[in-house]
Amino acid sequence: MAVETPTKPTIADKIYDKMFHNYVWKSIFRTGYPNTPRNQMLVVATNVFLHLHPTRIHRTHVKITHTYCLGGLTFFMFLGLTVTGILLMFYYVPSVERAYLDIQNIETTVQFGQLMRNMHRWMAHAMVILVFLHMMRVFYTGAYKPPREFNWVVGVILLVLTFLLSFTGYLLPWDQLAFWAITVGTNIAGAAPVLGPKTKFWLLGGFEVGPDALIRFYTLHVIGLPLLAAIFMAVHFWRIRRDGGLARPL
């Protein structure tokens, strides 16, 4: 009776084995390559980043026309803004004397500086648009309905935080566009009845846009608001999982 003998391993087999079946690799990635259903579920369940997702998901939710990935893309923009923003921080000093010169320096002498600044700005615009579109998607698909009431509220807070993040970043180049946009913007806030002037004074650290406003906006922009947004995002994502993923018809 003929017994099927396994084929002899080729060089490529041996290289593959050496690379991916060694002790170190296995200690990092505990599952094999996700090309079997078992490994595909394990990779999602054991990877901290993928663990944001369940291992299995309802068929209708992966249809691109259901969500257009808007929420995920908003988060992706946030990550991209964090990366480009941190890079820009290396060359930017938030002082009235230096801010404008630093931006010019970033644009002219820093390698890829102009590209980083452009990306930061366009991603910021994209994030504002995406977060608004995401809200429209959630509304028109009725996804705020029970049991997701509170997550909608968290979403509204995140919308406001996105506006504030973008607004505080607007002042930092310290050019005419920034200066007057923030002057107009804070004047709008200052027009609130009773509390308005005090709010504006508190926000700007003075009666008009100046050095104190710059450092306040900078601190809020690079650490205060991003931290707050990250906390609310964590709640937002956690609640999506807790409430059984995306909304679907009863």
Binding site: P6, A12, D13, Y16, G32, Y33, N35, T36, P37, R38, L87, F90, T109, V110, Q111, F112, G113, M116
Partner: protein, 204 residues
């Protein structure tokens, strides 16, 4: 799908091994997967290179980079050298064969002398009143005189006395159109008695 249906909850070991071997073969041949991961790695690599470039200063300032010296700071021909601290050098403006102690043929001009003593690295000061008679060059007043071990150099940085192994090192000088000069402090040439030949003609 077929694989999924065949797989038992607890597959027998040989079956599992064979199945994995099969899956590995398929994976190895998967051109698409290889290209995706190759593309991703390339993208990440180029991004890493971009990050490195981002942190690489294009126009470094201060010592090690180029230092600009405006016209007002450049000494008159024949007068005492000027101390340019941000570039760590003395700027000598020599008149004719001034400082050319051994007569190698200096014709005068600007010389940027790295102020670090070639002996043990002390900062060499300019001693404007030091008389050359003490080092066998009578009549010449004004020498670079190292305070550590007494190495003595002429106005052009040429060593005449002391334990230093050579003359003071020089830096590359370029004269700009607006009569200022640019000194490349990263480009240091070891000193020698031919220091006067490195003088750069200047008529500011």
């Amino acid at each position: 799908m077929a694989v999924e249906q065949r797989a038992n909850p607890r597959p027998a070991a040989p079956v599992e091994v064979a199945r994995q071997a099969e899956a590995r073969k398929i994976a190895r041949r998967s051109f698409l997967r290889v290209s995706v991961f190759a593309g991703l790695s390339l993208g990440l690599l180029s991004m890493a290179a971009g990050f490195l470039a981002f942190f690489n200063l294009r126009k470094p300032q201060g010592f090690g980079g180029t230092v600009n010296v405006v016209k007002a700071r450049i000494p008159k021909a024949g007068s005492d050298p000027a101390r340019i601290s941000e570039g760590k050098f003395w700027l000598s403006n020599l008149q004719g064969a001034q400082g050319d102690i051994f007569g190698v043929g200096g014709t005068g001009g600007l010389l940027a002398l790295y102020w670090k003593c070639p002996h043990l690295g002390c900062t060499v000061p300019w001693n404007a009143s030091y008389n050359g008679a003490q080092v066998a060059f009578p009549g010449i007043i004004g020498w670079f005189k190292c305070p550590c071990h007494g190495s003595t150099y002429s106005h052009a940085g040429v060593r005449v006395f002391g334990p230093a192994p050579r003359s003071m090192d020089t830096m590359a000088v370029t004269v700009n159109s607006d009569a200022s000069i640019t000194v490349d402090t990263g480009k240091i040439t070891l000193g020698g008695i031919d220091n006067p030949l490195r003088e750069v003609t200047y008529s500011g």
